[in-house]
Symmetry: C2
Subunit: 271 residues, 2 copies
């Protein structure tokens, strides 16, 4: 379940590793995760060259010359691995992209992911990525002002729902949301309209710092990067620490159901 830090880290590694390489062919093992038939998918990508690799939220964008974009969403428990020339590809892959120089990368997910190809001129009509909300890593876009505007628009919903909706802010999933809400002192079911101005600022700061901190550490320790190496982010404040003491007050962390997702909260610090 990679979220923004893992995905952004992968995209940066892919950008460094793959930029300039030419695609020889694509190897599609499971066509159902594509947006077009496998033949068309192959035609769109074959003999293109990697211009750059970026990310937005949980999506990776590989811009290819001339005029194609490769889009990747790792769904739950997905990974991308780089392979040097002559290294075997993992057998559990859904697909792989092979380069003319012999390098390759494969992608795999346990559950539901997307491997899409679109003409770059039609990127704006790719609904799954076109509707993505603010990018917390983009200082120019994710300002306190823009963030507060989202909160006003969605004031009727619970704050956790708002933050996890990719159309509002792109990249927060059920892992990082836990400590973000804790750091801001907010209960996940707090009505967004009832979040005070100082809480909004604390929340904004928590989103920025939590995600950036995890990105600096290369993401979660139980996720792998492009080279199969685990991240170094290990210490949650309350996330997935049911029954352990709150780092602030010592009360025991509770696991509760919030709508259809689970939340880990400190019952005294988060209201």
């Amino acid at each position: 379940m990679p979220e923004l830090p893992e995905v952004a880290n992968l995209a940066r590694q892919m950008d460094r590793e793959l930029r300039g390489r030419r695609v020889a062919e694509v190897d599609v093992v499971q066509p159902r995760c594509l947006n077009v038939p496998p033949e068309e998918f192959g035609r769109m990508l074959a003999h293109t060259q990697v211009n750059r690799v970026t990310s937005r939220g949980k999506w990776i964008f590989m811009d290819l010359e001339p005029g194609a974009t490769f889009l990747l969403n790792l769904g739950m428990g997905g990974e991308v691995l780089f392979h040097h020339k002559d290294e075997p590809l993992p057998g559990n892959r859904q697909s792989a992209v092979l380069f003319e120089d012999g390098g390759a990368f494969s992608q795999h997910f346990c559950w539901f992911g997307y491997v899409h190809a679109v003409k770059t001129v039609e990127l704006a009509s790719h609904t799954m990525t076109a509707a993505l909300g603010l990018d917390p890593l983009d200082d120019g876009e994710f300002t306190l002002n823009a963030f507060e505007k989202v909160l006003v628009e969605k004031k009727r919903s619970a704050i956790k729902t708002v933050l996890m909706d990719q159309k509002n802010i792109a990249g927060i999933g059920n892992v990082y949301i836990q400590d973000i809400l804790f750091a801001a002192g907010l209960h996940p079911l707090r009505k967004t309209a009832d979040v005070t101005a100082s809480e909004r600022r604390a929340l904004y700061a928590a989103i920025c710092s939590q995600l950036r901190h995890a990105l600096e550490l290369g993401g979660l320790a139980y996720e792998k990067d492009l080279y199969g190496q685990p991240g170094r982010f290990t210490e949650f404040l309350v996330g997935y620490r049911e029954g352990k003491p709150c780092p602030t007050c010592g009360a025991l962390v509770q696991k509760i159901r919030t709508g259809s997702t689970a939340s880990f909260i400190c019952p005294t610090c988060q209201t």
Copy 2:
């Protein structure tokens, strides 16, 4: 708040009283309840002749030759009154239809109603009436079979919600629903999927008998018919009898909130 019995009674009286009369002109006092501009409304109805007047659910249909249909929904607290030649029209009317022979009828509602005119060939595209569900007065249409089919389709909703949705069954409002549910022994919030076969039959019978009985009595005592006469239906079983004894077990009737509507129930007989 006229529901099916009052509306059906009005339509029958209008059919007897107005059939064959020719419209001289329409008098629109409040244009906002029309579906077209007043001028067009007048043009569509002027010089037409009443063919027949019918009803479906809470809507009255006046079929006019050649090719127009006058549609009336009394909303909440509405009424239709007939006026003989030279009688004054009530000052609180939203509109009136004047006949060439000097007769007229006026309509009035306290809150939101609809006075629409459509070409009869376009009646099927009048969305508010085209989507109406089963007519409980139509034996050929409102069969036990058709009723149970609705309950299966809407099994996820509370039974009261299903019965009051005009798209399922046309004509039941928050007045008659009370005794219908009581007669079937059903709590308004019972999930439709959990209504047993014998309860479904009891409910079907309750709908038919309650509405027909009220219609035979000319509707509710606090509603007026085409001639300003009140109906003779006075005795609710539990409806609007908060704090009074249940006619079956003597327990006190409770008024509860069910979603956004109020319900009157016997706490022991309705489960």
